[in-house]
Subunit: 122 residues, 2 copies
Amino acid sequence: MTTATTSLTSSDVAACCSPLTGGVLDTTAAERLAAVFKALADPARVKLVSLIAAAEGGEACICDLTEPLGLSQPTVSHHMKLLVESGLVTREQRGKWAYYRVNPEALDRLAAAVSTQSKYIN
Amino acid sequence: MTTATTSLTSSDVAACCSPLTGGVLDTTAAERLAAVFKALADPARVKLVSLIAAAEGGEACICDLTEPLGLSQPTVSHHMKLLVESGLVTREQRGKWAYYRVNPEALDRLAAAVSTQSKYIN
């Protein structure tokens, strides 16, 4: 069973990530890990994560994010969709706007997978 | 001064990486971090890092890497070039072959930048 590198299901995100330097990764584990890295492989998405994390209450809506990025709302929405699919960011619809939060567990799992000192926390 | 996202200089790698959730990143910091993530945003490169880290003595040459990947030597060489440029892997030419090692400091700096618990270690 192969996992698409561009779209993760919730179970993939839960399973992510095997440690990068803790033994030879099989193809599925490599694809899962690469998909999460891909979500962060764009300066706009990196900046979006930092903006959301720094926002008041740790929460931001698209309306807060377009101006600091200098990008259109559809472009920001596209980047946010990729971040939500990766599991690194969560989305909650409230009325007209969607509100986003960083998922600290997902970031910490990714950090543990990258660290050469981490234990296997899959 | 803008840093290209596809090619980092050694000073960029040394400067990488500002914490993702430690405050709003400026454009240069976001580009540096995204460039390192991009180096790992491919299942073949993720697998290569895990193969090198797991190799005897923590070292592997291209000749050790083509068969487990099932890719041609030019393709593997291309992936290795991107990993070396990112600073995540080091390369040493010895006679006919180039030998590669994972750079644990670079991986640990990246892990610290991703972790929501890390201190600022730029």
